[in-house]
Amino acid sequence: MIDNNIAWYVLFAPLIAAALIVVFTRRSKGLSSFLSCAAVLASFAGACLIFARKEDAAPALNWIEFPGLFVVPLGLVLDGLSRMMLVVVTGIGALIHIYSLGYMRNDEGKSRYFAALSLFMFAMLGIVLSNNFVMLFIFWELVGFTSYVLIGHWFDRDAAAEAAKKAFITNRIGDFGFMLGILMIWATTGSVVFANIAPRLSILTSNPGFLTAAALLIFCGAAGKSAQFPLHVWLPDAMEGPTPVSALIHAATMVAAGVYMLARVAFIIQLSPVALDVIVWIGTITAVMAALIATQQNDIKRILAYSTLSQLGYMVMAIGLSSSDAAIYHLFTHAFFKALLFLGAGSVIVALHHEQDIWEMGGLSRNLTITFVTFLVGALALMGCPPFSGFFSKDAILALAYEHNMPIFVLALGTAFLTAFYVTRLLVVVFLGHPRSHAARISRESPLVMTGPLIVLALLVIFGGSTFFTGQFVSVPPEHDVFEKVPLLAIGALVLGAGFAFALYRNRPREAFDIGFLRQKFYIDEIYSWLIDRTQELLARISAFFDRWIIDTAGVGGASGGTWGIGALLRFVQVGNLQAYSFFFGLGVVALIYFAVFR
């Protein structure tokens, strides 16, 4: 009855749901959402089954096969890593689907939303299960595409459309490098299957420069998807999408895909010390920078977005310190508490009729008790408060940094302090004190479909703290009792940051201090838009130049005699098009002959 193909069912259930919605049930919103939820629950059940039966091997078949020339196997990989990710992705995905039933209940495009959500689940599961680079890349792109659709769900809002475009284009820049890296690896080792690349690594190590280039190019892809500096700009803007999407894509799963991919190919990256150095520093820079920016944001979702960036920085840091175990451990715990935080934020936002500015909230702990308690659990985990899951996983990374690289450790500790600071600020401003707006005063708790997932997630976060529970899923790095001072320092930073923020923001109606530099996110967006403007202007100039050069015929006779220099050039340029066409033709011929014969 249950055969080996169960992994395939897990993978395809959401795709079938998406197809059914698109083809048949577009008109019926209720049925569409039901289909989508049913599919993801089925996948979750399957994932649990796979998780329980560890002996199952992954069935494989060849997708495209030409012996000796080109083989792309269509295979799934089922190891500890992917089993764990399967459960996390489908589990959190299921919760978020259910939550969406409440959050999106009155939305016009509910069918479209659920179709995209299902498609996203399919793509994400594909990334998790792929056993080769080609499939991984295809699902990778599909994830990018669906997240583009979901971010731009409310495409009639300009900001949402812009954010979607930004996300997509930034990701493409990363993917450009990723694909080049894949091609380089494949060209040298002759295989795209992870398991087959591993025994042939000696070919790569003989050429360290090439290896480093390939590793860094692959990292490019991860940097795009996991929003690492300098490709991080899309993630905060992506908060324009519906909140469940933020929770699913931009907290728990998609952004983690980069880290997951790095863990998958860690065996390649770890061969190149240079690449590891670059990766660890990029991770650290992202962590510190995002934490700094988060301290000055006012939008509740943006604060969470920057905290995501910062936590992803930690994970990448761990990869750079060649411990994918620690990275995955943090990914695992982070997925739960960050999804919890986003869903909590969504509950707040719905209660306040889509108000996202934290200074318009305040005192919500009285009206939104469940949301407050669960949010508090998530926040404590994010800060790294001892009994909760975040503490252990963060501690593992800190210990790692302490062991290998002191400057990184100091910066990581500083980030921990900043994290505690801004999370406490968020808690205090949103939930404590007095309501600062009418909406906040009359707010009411969200319905059960929304609070239910919150409670489940909060319980998971609490249990996540126990090594016994977590150990079932990930290989927890062994505790280094030598470094007892690391946890102590971490708790110190936590207490310091939290206390500082508590003192600063208690009963304060507006921002305590204003640092424009941080508020404007280091002006990185401005720099980018300046660069883009310059590029566009350059392109416009080039095209105008061509325009005049080849095409413009009007006023040849009357072309003002003008000064000799530019005037003469322009007149040459205005020869009338066909003549110029044949001139370029001739120039091309002469150049080619020169190139082929005389060079």
């Binding site: 040849v556 007149r571 040459f572 003549q579 001739g586 002469v590 020169y594 014969v597 005389f598």
Partner: protein
């Protein structure tokens, strides 16, 4: 053929070829073209290709030139008005043309067989019509039939394009 005659006909061909380019009046250009092709036909004959030479004269002087003249008359084209000559464009075009000819001449100069004199023929080639014809109907039968299709295309095209639309 003696070198003297060769250079006479080659010179004729090139000078009148240049005349096609340089003449302002389309009619004069068309006539230069014919003279140039007469020179070319003479060169063909010097290469013992009598049939091709005669075809050249018949087709170009008899058909193509008439077609050109016909269109020039039909459209009532006079000598080009003295438009402002775009010196820079001309200079660019000439530069490219000179560069191309230098390349071609250099390459031909370095060609291994370019100093090869006329290889002797075993038989007279006055019956080359026979040889060409038999090749045409045996080995080159397929392209010969395709040429028929090609002429059909040209006919349809000319009729369709130059027919006046009735409105």
């Amino acid at each position: 053929m003696s070198p003297f005659l060769f250079w006479i006909f080659a010179g004729l061909m090139l000078v009148f070829g240049a005349g096609v380019v340089l003449n302002r009046n389309p009619v004069a250009s068309a006539l230069s073209l014919v003279v140039s092709f007469l020179g070319l036909a003479a060169l063909f004959m010097s290469l013992d290709a009598y049939f091709i030479g005669i075809i050249q004269v018949l087709v170009y002087a008899g058909a193509v030139m008439v077609l050109f003249l016909f269109i020039i008359m039909l459209l009532d084209l006079r000598a080009e008005k003295l438009r402002k000559i775009n010196w820079l464009a001309s200079a660019g075009g000439i530069a490219v043309a000179v560069a191309l000819s230098v390349q071609i001449l250099y390459v031909i100069g370095n060609f291994r067989f370019s100093q090869q004199p006329f290889p002797p023929l075993a038989r007279s080639t006055v019956d080359d019509v026979h040889h060409v014809g038999s090749l045409l109907f045996e080995n080159y039968n397929l392209p010969f039939q395709i040429i028929g299709v090609l002429v059909l295309v040209a006919t349809i095209g000319v009729v369709v394009l130059s027919k006046r639309e009735l409105r």
